[in-house]
């Protein structure tokens, strides 16, 4: 069992890295001090997409410093989402081995725990977004409108949900082939 789990990990990290690396790059770009001349790192493109600058200016607050605070908030949001995705995807990649799916007659029972774990993962992503964007942790969250909050939640759920799915497909496909819903239908399954 342990050997199978260890064999799982390299493919799991490859899967996680496909979207995990862009996520880390995004986090780094948000943590770099804001500089108007930068295009990606330390730029204000995320703030321009989601921040209500009209509200910021109405309150008399500075655009630059508010962008900096917003970037920090978004960085922390993505760090937390990355941790959640990592925990759930690794949890399923390892935990699915204990379901003995490869044994005859067991495969039909994996569907329910898969759906529950995946739903919990998506739910956790939504909860993390709501905590960061609506609680009193970051004052700058007040300048994110309801529409923008909804958009951030949807984008996060899709991006980190996809990251979770790719990570668990690659992590579980070889050792527990059917531990991911629809994985056995993938055209590239024979290469894994």
């Amino acid at each position: 069992m342990m050997i199978n789990i260890l064999k799982t990990l390299p493919w799991y990290f490859v899967g996680l890295g496909t979207l995990g690396i862009p996520a880390i790059l995004l986090i780094v770009s948000l943590l770099v001090p804001v500089d108007a001349e930068n295009y990606f790192f330390g730029s204000d493109w995320v703030a321009n997409s989601f921040l209500d600058f009209a509200g910021v200016e109405e309150d008399g607050q500075d655009r630059f410093s508010t962008t900096s605070e917003f970037n920090i908030m978004m960085a922390w949001l993505n760090i937390n989402l990355l941790i959640v995705t990592f925990v759930f995807s690794l949890g399923w990649s390892i935990g699915s081995h204990f379901l003995n799916i490869d044994e005859p007659g067991k495969a039909k029972f994996f569907g329910l725990p898969w759906i529950v774990i995946s739903a919990l993962c998506i739910g956790a992503i939504v909860v993390v977004c709501l905590i960061v964007l609506t609680s009193s942790i970051f004052y700058v969250s007040q300048y994110v409108t309801t529409d923008s909050t909804f958009n951030i939640i949807i984008i996060s759920a899709v991006f980190y949900g996809l990251m979770y799915w790719i990570a668990v497909i690659l992590g579980t496909a070889r050792q527990a082939r059917s531990a991911v819903l629809l994985a056995n239908k993938l055209p590239a399954r024979n290469f894994l």
């Binding site: 309150d59 008399g60 607050q61 500075d62 410093s65 009193s136 004052y139 007040q142």
Partner: protein
């Protein structure tokens, strides 16, 4: 010893830093609002008083006894003379109507007797003079004596021609200057027994005037031109008259009063520091970080709160002239700044462009209520500094309608006389009162009521 001195110096440095930190916690572009200079009320109370008696013949009817009705003319005029003596440093007495002249105290003391109104000219000449009230002439004198209080005792029986065109201008022009000088006009009406001849009643066809002598009751008027405080002083003195009190108890319509003014604000609330900590009603003075202090007569409330809106309440009696029409509408000049982070020297405050974040509660209440951020809430996590300057935008409607019962229009005069009334009304009364009110509204000037600042930290 040297160590102790060093300790004292360090202590003083830190103490000075703490004290100075408050001064540093103001927006850099904040400008201290102008606050009216303190004026002494007593100074206003001790000016010259000019009393003008209407010497027309019809006024003599108030001096004769009348068995059916109570005579209030004599007791009220006695009270008025005492009040005018108390009010000013010097009192002068004058007559208008049939005779326009200054009289001495001995002659003035006869005002409640028939002798005072005796016309020594021919009967025809006396009746002709009696039709001219001369009210506008008195106003002309009043406008020149802006530091004096003018008291006019009259039946206010003014012919229609005196309220029209050029004659109306003769009344309006001095009134405009009177109101422009910040003075008010108080009109007291007292219904008293009457036993005389009322002349100058226009005929229905407009071809002449007739007299009426069957009236047993008729109102006379005391018009006081001066500061609101002085008018209230006279009112208080008159109301203390026992005979008037008894008459009011029997019939409340015996006495009517209205004050017409272009400025109903008695004093700015900042001038005598009448704004207190308790005026901010829903923030406890015991709460953390609460401080209330005046900075050059500007009250500043400093506090930490999680409440999204709050209220300031001021008792109207603290700033509105008692008995005046009050304020129907306020204008609030409002400025708001925000600061992210702690309040230090050189902190960069940002000027907010939020508008209309302060609203005024019901103006008909006895209190002026200022409601802050009721419609759009402020964002937490910031320190806010606001400056509110409250001005009057429109005076309230005066209580002039109370006098409508005693008004007699030119067209109704003949009919009124034919009905043999016991109580005779006053010709063109509402014309005159409305004219005074219109002039006051024309001369209305926005007056600053209060300036208030708040410096608070808003938590979630």
């Amino acid at each position: 010893m040297i160590k102790f001195n060093n300790f004292i110096i360090i202590f003083l440095f830190f103490f000075a830093s703490i004290v100075n930190s408050y001064a540093a916690c103001l927006p850099t572009d904040f400008k201290q609002p102008d606050i009216p200079i303190k004026t002494s009320v007593n100074e206003n109370l001790k000016d010259k008083v000019h009393v003008w008696y209407d010497s027309s013949l019809s006024m003599s009817g108030f001096t004769k006894s009348q068995s059916e009705e109570v005579n209030l003319f004599r007791p009220i005029l006695n009270s008025l003379q005492q009040a005018s003596q108390s009010l000013g440093t010097e009192t002068s007495y004058n007559t208008f109507g049939s005779r326009f002249q200054t009289i001495d105290e001995n002659r003035a003391s006869l005002v409640t007797t028939q002798e005072f109104y005796k016309c020594n000219q021919s009967a025809q000449a006396c009746v002709a003079k009696d039709r001219i009230n001369g009210f506008s002439k008195v106003l002309g004198v009043a406008k020149k004596n802006t530091d004096s209080t003018i008291i006019i005792v009259t039946d206010l029986f003014i012919s229609t021609s005196e309220t029209l065109a050029k004659n109306a201008e003769k009344i309006k022009k001095p009134l405009g200057e009177i109101f422009n000088n910040g003075q008010s006009v108080g009109i007291f009406g007292v219904s008293s027994s009457y036993n005389g001849k009322i002349s100058g009643i226009p005929l229905e066809d407009g071809l002449g005037y007739v007299t009426y002598s069957k009236a047993t009751k008729r109102p006379f008027y005391i018009i006081v031109i001066g500061s609101g405080e002085n008018i209230n002083f006279i009112e208080e003195k008159l109301k203390k008259n026992q005979k008037l009190q008894d008459a009011i108890a029997e019939n409340p319509d015996t006495y009517k009063f209205t004050m017409i003014t272009s400025n109903v604000i008695a004093e700015n609330l900042n001038t005598n520091k009448k704004i207190k900590a308790k005026n901010l009603t829903n923030i406890s003075s015991q709460s953390e970080g609460y401080k209330f202090e005046y900075k050059d007569n500007l009250p500043i409330y400093e506090f930490i709160t999680s409440k999204s809106n709050f209220e300031l309440k001021f008792d109207n009696s603290n700033f509105i002239v008692p008995g005046s029409s009050g304020v129907a509408e306020y204008k609030i000049v409002q400025e708001l700044w925000s600061l992210r982070g702690s309040c230090k020297k050189n902190s960069k405050w940002g000027k907010s462009n939020r508008k209309n974040f302060i609203s005024v509660g019901d103006v008909n209440d006895d209190t002026l209520t200022l409601k802050f951020f009721e419609e759009k809430k402020l964002n937490w996590g910031l320190r806010w500094f606001l400056l509110a300057e409250v001005y009057t935008a429109r005076n309230g409607s005066s209580t002039q309608d109370e006098f409508k019962d005693w008004d007699l229009t030119d067209s109704d005069a003949a009919n009124h006389m034919q009905s043999d009334p016991k109580t005779f009304k006053t010709l063109n009364l509402m014309n005159i009162i409305e004219m005074i009110n219109d002039v006051a509204n024309e001369e209305f000037k926005s007056t600053k009521v209060a300036s208030i600042a708040m410096n608070f930290e808003l938590e979630k």
